[in-house]
Symmetry: D2
Subunit: 462 residues, 4 copies
């Protein structure tokens, strides 16, 4: 399973800043389910509440109505991939330096953390967590002497390498930054006189906020009182937005990188159909991931669209495990095929990715048991062969099935009659600005060279 | 909103009877989310656990692994419609009478409860709850003197009028009954040497149990040790199965009343398309209720199928309310349209029902705001004009929009360009045995005349 | 350990009836920690909330401020001794009969339950619980035809045998009853224009209510509107109040049966000192049970009083168990001796009872390990040789150490230098009306003969 | 109310290090009820769990049995006095520096924190909390370059001023330190081959550990593998142990500073009686604080000891507040007088301190209402006139009644017939080494001069 990394939300100048942040994070919940946090500026000091769990589990009316006072807020939701799930790693992260309190919410992954950390420690920095964001904020603090906060943030951005969409809150200043490559998305909007920032525009829709624009790669927006200023991190970095946001991460009703996610996914399905449409009775998705590309595939191929795998809407996160002999239970509990639709049929399944292939294999086996005559598989994403160092947790290279196996080996492993992955060219035809995307997970061509010597490097093979 | 009433599950002769009941109820969760309960027979006495909430909230490992010992179990999930949500109303319901403990799990609604209650009280019965099932069990107990349990159950069944699918557990005997009209479904299956009963076959699929058959209307199945016996309640009642199970209630991957629910719903969409397919750009459902009829509609009409309303998968039951000025928030939080798909488009929405029309109206208004050029609405269910007394909570007659308004009035209220409800004839063409269904909510032609004088009667207008 | 059975509280005509009941139950918490419940009459119907746990765990502000509306309330706290701890057994218990709702809160144990239950079942009664109080309320209901509620209660009281202090709430009538022997206490008070009832007067102190009087044995008080009427159950039963309320149960700051509990306990200690004061360095209690008799003992004997066993005030009910090798942990965690006070000392311990002797033995062993030269034990209660059938759970006869062993055997078992139990005569000298007490647990002379054939009888040896 | 500041516990070389720490903290619970935490060294890295609440609320079996692996552990319980109660302030506190993880548990208060913090920030340190312990650990880290951990700790100790008992865990090294004045206690013991440290010896008793000795003021003990080494912080600081540990803080069954707490308190009562024993009917404590000095007072004066104020053992931390008109409720709910003991009596109350006097005043008023003829008050602690900067939270100077009022003014405020505080001389006669104690709260003679300019200084009046 591919894990979402984080979502961020910010708001400036709204009497119910914490409450709107709550709803904003709620709309971004698909980007992280491990922890959530909100920090507000009450005019005197920062106030914070963070906790493990989903947004509605972490916050209650007392937090929103009483404790998180103030007109400015930033929020964060997180899915952690490394180490234990600890409350200490929940964000936004706050530090105190010379009387100034700084809160930071970070979506993305830095690649020169170890190097920077070593350097900072030589100068006396001491760390409390293992998260990237702590390095960021130490860099900011070290650059504060004699400089404004925005200068310090800018200086820190020039030091770090990697992916980041950031929200920084200090006193009555709210700063939003996207890294020079623009790996992670960040959008600016307005609602009722307030400015809002969010990872995806679906957060704006829930608040009935107006979408203004995406931040540019390398752009820093600073809001203070009624003043909104935009700065540019000088750099020659080419734009390298994460195409996986479009394939898989973002909610289909969001605009991301200026692309309409729903339309992109449909186009991927259409391209896929053009590349390889089998002769079958119908097309169906594995709900809900493949729905939109399957719809496009069906339209382009002229094959009937069916929805013959039924999702159990009540599957929650806590669930008592069955005893040993209930084979493949956790796969079965989530979706169940409609038997009468499967028996004797030739079926084409459209899905948005194959990572390890094990879940798909179990599902296909079930279809075979129910009498499916042929099962073909079409994937709206090229083979994932390389790990991502910019914020997506695909599992390590050793576990990526496409990194180690040919298409026909995967066909045999999954037990299907035919398999086709969309080509990189087909994928790029589905988006508006094909030159602006990072394709490293397919090609191994990393926009930022590996920092070397670190843990990540062991995997990239550099 | 239409509320599901209940689901029941039973198992005989399995070492992990409670655990399998847990999974069975889990698969039936869509039929009731208010409370859940399991009762087991440990060879000496009944053991029980009931609680408010979803199945995984009510039970923990200790309940399943330690407390609910025994090879026989019955379980129940409930959505209550009358009175407060009280733990005392959760089922299975247990009574003690002359040293015999009897547990009952009941899906359905009786219509002569008040009359029977009055009669029983004259004879000295005292009640603790306001639920129908308590009347049932008093009747059974009163008939026990000198008779076997199955004779007593049979006698009770001859007294009560209304809808019931029942599971009764006493000592090592498990009894399953369907009322003579067969309003509610009940299926029999087998797994690993055990017999299982469930409201819907999707519970069998999760357990990898084999579906044997549906119980007949008026059939009582008694299991004791290795003996399985079938009895018939003598009655001339015609079969009147609840067609709403097929339209709306049952999970699409279930078999109910011998019908394949998915196929039925697709056929309803196809019939609907034959009756009235508008000239539009595409067809889409309101997820997830209308999906299957929309798929059928799209196939029959040749119109493109889209999935342009996006469901938020993290909407839970507890949620902090927004402040006053976030208009229509609770509608918006559940599904959000894809703007680019709506703007300038002529859209046909297919859904499975209109009860009050207020939610649909809000959604349509949103589509208009986003620039939809035309919005047409097709419903795979005829107009609901009469309340149900057999276990469905449609809201009272005064609230049923079709009971009080013409199609063109509803069109105007909802704000759509055209509205078409499937005809009763079209609906009946979608099912295999059209003569076996109760259509009272459409026609007012109740299979069981109202008992008179009761609370329900005030609504039916008799 | 001796278990407290129950406490009851009632209030009539107070705008915050539920809230005051909450505080009343809170003050009676020592009488039962398993479950708590409050029922109010809101002018139309009964409202109830019951739950497992301590009073502050069961109720929250919403219950007291919103849900439990009404000017009349009864409440109950419970320690169950038989069967599982089930929410269904929590009181007050409510039944519905011919449109009348009746709530009952019962402290005590009936002895002819099985007989009555059989009789009622012959007449068609069906039971849901195994608690005595359900029999009571069936009897009341059966007597309601053509009679007032107070007549029906009176008739029920004439049928049942055993111990009961009752509060009954139906419509706007509150009825309080004490059984003819007066086994359990019940006091009447007033606060701010309202009448209040409570098991012990310490509940009145917390509410700053005025204590009016104890109910007489066999008295029924009925409050309706502004009318307070007293009735007498005609019976020749002699008064037989439970002396264990004075020895152990009641809080020392309560008045019970017209006796001042603190003074009684001090007098028991004084009598005990007169009967047998050893030559030791000091007297000390096992906190907190023996404190008051130890104080009296020290004063009478002239020996120094010490408090050299220290109680851990944070021992709660949930506690992770240590690993195997932490011997006697659960005894040690509660009280810890002051080493310097023990070493080389001759000590007299005064306590209020010995049931099984095992905890005392462990504590004495610890004192020996710490170097105590002599350990003498004085008990302000005669040897408990017979089980109680009227509401105290001493453990069964087989477990009562004094039922099966001589004083010198017990001395040896516990490991003490001398043991003396107060004589029955000494005990009776400590109370004001010695003729009014039940001494059955010491003498086996039961005021109500055993009903025969029941479960209890197996133990009494009749 | 005087607040306890903290308790610490450590263990080296025990297979169940976390579990024993849990029990150790449990025994120290009286020293802090706000948060608890345990950190273990699993051989590779530190593992931690911290939470808000009592020890049994914070930890569950999973924490102790699975997550907190390792043979070495340190634990902390805390009562915070400044700022909000935040999980981020819970200890042990962990930092990472150059690949080394350091955990620290700190009991006490530093006085030059602001100064040190400023200095560290100049050198680039960034802080996450407002607690003293973070300064300590930054100092340690800065001294690590080219030095061993013990050297770095020693260097840090030479920089900080104030009160500290510390446990430090890094890799497989456990370091325990007491500040040069020895303000806070720290004891060393052994159990089953393991070394243990605890604030008080009552923690050893619960574990059946053997008490070895108290650490000396200024001593640092380092344990690594089987090696135990002791170092001395070179300093000329005189020993200044906190006499309030003996008067009030420590559990009476503990040994603290080589003193037996129970015996000390009794001697304080005896000295007090010698100084001023009134002619009354009896002596009683306010439970449970004054019990031990009251016992000594009664023995020395020959007056009868009574226990006539009854403590409610079920008063918990969460409690629904009564409505406005229940005057003095929170005082009344905790202890209730035995009326018959009060009426017409001349009473001498012995207690261990008066801080603001408001609670005592309410209690005395109640005694007067119940008819007490005379109420005399004796306090086993001299008047508290100055705030403490070394870890006790007496409330600010403006709130200390003895700082601003004469004895006769306090008599009048509380409403008593006579008041006597033990003299400083009398107090010192109660302890073994009178020259070794800090008396600053009585005399204003602070062992460490105020650092100046800080927040604390505003209060000391320097």
């Amino acid at each position: 399973m591919i894990r979402h990394y984080c979502g961020i939300f910010g708001i400036y100048n709204h009497a119910e800043a914490a409450r709107l942040s709550y709803f904003g994070l709620y709309a971004l919940q698909h980007r992280g389910q491990e922890s959530a946090g909100i920090v507000t500026w009450d005019g005197q000091k920062l106030r914070e509440h963070r906790g493990m769990g989903l947004v509605p589990e972490v916050f209650n009316e007392r937090h929103l109505g009483k404790e998180l006072k103030g007109d400015i807020a930033i929020g964060h939701i997180r899915y952690s991939t490394t180490g234990a799930s600890l409350i200490r790693n929940a964000q936004p992260f706050i530090v105190r330096y010379k009387g100034l309190e700084i809160a930071i919410a970070h979506n993305g992954n830095l690649v020169n953390t170890l190097e920077l950390r070593r350097e900072l420690e030589e100068q006396g920095s001491i760390f409390q967590t293992s998260i990237d964001s702590e390095v960021f904020v130490h860099l900011i603090a070290r650059n504060l002497n004699g400089h404004t906060l925005e200068e310090a943030v800018m200086a820190a951005c020039r030091k770090v390498k990697g992916a980041y969409a950031l929200l920084i809150l200090a006193n009555n200043k709210l700063i939003a930054v996207r890294d020079p490559h623009g790996f992670r998305p960040l959008a600016l909007g307005r609602v009722a006189g307030a400015h809002v920032f969010a990872s995806e525009t679906c957060a704006f829709d829930l608040l009935e906020a107006e979408f203004i624009r995406s931040l540019d790669p390398g752009e820093m927006v600073v809001i203070e009182d009624t003043k909104v200023q935009s700065y540019k991190i000088e750099t020659e970095a080419p734009t390298r937005q994460c195409i996986f946001e479009l394939i898989y991460f973002a909610r289909p009703d969001s605009l991301v990188f200026g692309e309409d996610v729903y339309q992109c996914r449909k186009r991927m399905g259409q391209e896929l159909a053009r590349e390889s449409a089998p002769d079958v009775d119908f097309v169906m998705p594995f709900p809900d991931s493949g729905v939109y590309s399957a719809v496009g595939f069906a339209q382009e191929s002229g094959l009937p669209y069916e929805h013959a795998m039924i999702r159990n809407h009540y599957v929650g996160r806590t669930f008592i495990q069955p005893s040993q002999d209930m084979r493949d239970f956790s796969v079965r509990v989530k979706i169940n095929p409609v038997k009468s639709m499967i028996k004797g049929k030739r079926i084409c399944i459209v899905d948005d990715s194959i990572v390890r292939g094990t879940t798909i294999r179990t599902r296909v086996k079930k279809l075979r048991e129910l009498g499916a005559r042929e099962v073909h598989f079409r994937v709206s994403c090229p083979p994932i062969k390389f790990p991502c160092f910019y914020g997506i947790d695909f599992a390590s290279k050793g576990e990526l099935i496409a990194a180690n196996h040919s298409v026909s080996e995967i066909e045999r492993f999954i037990g299907i009659d035919s398999l086709h992955y969309i080509t990189i060219e087909g994928l790029l035809r589905s988006v508006s600005h094909p030159e602006n995307y990072c394709l490293a997970c397919f090609t191994g061509d990393y926009p930022i060279p590996c920092a070397g010597g670190g843990k990540l490097c062991l995997e990239c093979g550099c």
